[in-house]
Symmetry: C2
Subunit: 247 residues, 2 copies
């Protein structure tokens, strides 16, 4: 593990997220998977099932961040265009690849399902990409350079990450402390909090107001303070200062 | 209502989303709010509480899309830098503005809370921006050109949208039909589905596999097909074709 910050981006691909029909959970899931590896998310984007949009986003994110994770658009139907778009982003040829086809043949042979031309779309893998195992349904993802192409179904996406972790070079691990303060408004804390943040520039300190409805119809309010940093000793000091804000 | 497609983008601002600590719900919430107005989301981005990242994203999205909605980063604490960053993106001066201060004075006067310098940060509004009413906590959002700056707390964000709707020029309203098919795999439908999509290029047809765990430990699977379009007659035809896939 080095000490330099390692940053990743997520590209969520799918009209269903942009229409509001489906709630994305992969951004949070991948962020939580990366944190213990010392990798933090620097950016996330959601684009539609549109070839040009995917190509442009893959190129922009791949150039800017250490790693990029795409989710969605690698199934067998006409709207699954991620693999072809990612290949285009790297100017790589793409076709049905024998190693990927072999995985599908074995998987579908076992389950007695016919390997139709549509299903063979899932074996379309760019030249020189390395496969990412899919423990749930078999159909693999793939890695090209610093881009990891994963499924959109959250359980499958999570399963694929198991075959991604060992390929990632992590950075310094970020630790987190959080302090919950009840019956306070953000504005009550803002000045003292700003001073703590200024005195500890290596910690990232966030302030998040919350509201809870009480059974009797009333409202309870408070603030959750979250500090993140790589230096545990400094973080402990910040933790104590944040707790002192309760008084 | 015109017939041209009107497209919007959302810029979610906040380390808490990128860390995976908080699950964003504003993308879906705003998308669902815009749909009946005939406005669809073309893109969403999540960036950290970083001035340069916000400035760059606001400029890029504002130039590309009809409307941009930002969420988060307009509270009273040191990490709330959205207003200043949006002002910078449009090269506008920003300071405490009297109309915004008057709203806070009235609101905090009523509730007996002190209007501290930190709280006054919430009255920092770029020159010439128009205020967006906040029915929940008072502190206003604002509009500059085609960018609407909203709160990140979902209930407050939703409340602010009420003062946004009348400013939006909508497009053709998109209708949706969805057909749920049980005991089928995506690959079983892919070829017939691809043909339907090809025959109806003005409809957007998406295919979304689902899995449900049964009480006995088994697994039920199926596919949800969703078609969207502006032509109701064509959409009815597609709906019938999708239903026929059940047989």
């Amino acid at each position: 593990m080095g000490e330099r910050p390692v940053k990743a981006a997520i590209l969520v691909i799918g009209d269903e997220i942009l229409s509001g029909r489906t709630q994305d959970v992969n951004i949070g899931q991948i962020a939580q998977f990366l944190a213990p590896l010392g990798i933090t998310l620097g950016e996330a984007r959601v684009v539609s099932d549109d070839r040009e949009a995917i190509v442009e986003a893959v190129r922009a994110l791949s150039a800017r961040w250490d790693y990029v994770f795409t989710t969605g658009g690698i199934g067998p139907t006409h709207d699954d265009i991620t693999a072809d778009a990612v290949a285009a982003a790297f100017n790589r040829p793409i076709d049905v690849r024998e190693d990927a086809r072999a995985i599908l043949v074995e998987r579908y042979g076992v389950s007695g399902v016919e390997l139709t031309p549509a299903r063979l779309r899932m074996a379309r893998i760019p030249d020189d990409a390395s496969l990412i195992a899919n423990p749930v349904t078999g159909a693999p993802g793939f890695q090209i350079e610093n881009v990891f192409v994963l499924a959109g179904v959250p359980k499958i996406c999570r399963g694929m990450l198991e075959d991604v972790a060992h390929r990632l070079e992590g950075g310094a691990v970020t630790h987190t402390v959080s302090v919950r303060i009840e019956n306070v408004r953000e504005g009550d804390l803002a000045e003292r909090l700003g001073q703590i943040a200024q005195d500890h520039p290596d910690c990232s300190i966030g302030s998040y107001p919350w509201f809870e409805e009480l059974p009797g119809g009333g409202l309870k309010r408070g603030v959750e303070l979250v500090a993140r940093g790589t230096d545990e000793a400094e973080l402990e000091e910040v933790d104590a200062l944040l707790r002192a804000l309760r008084r």
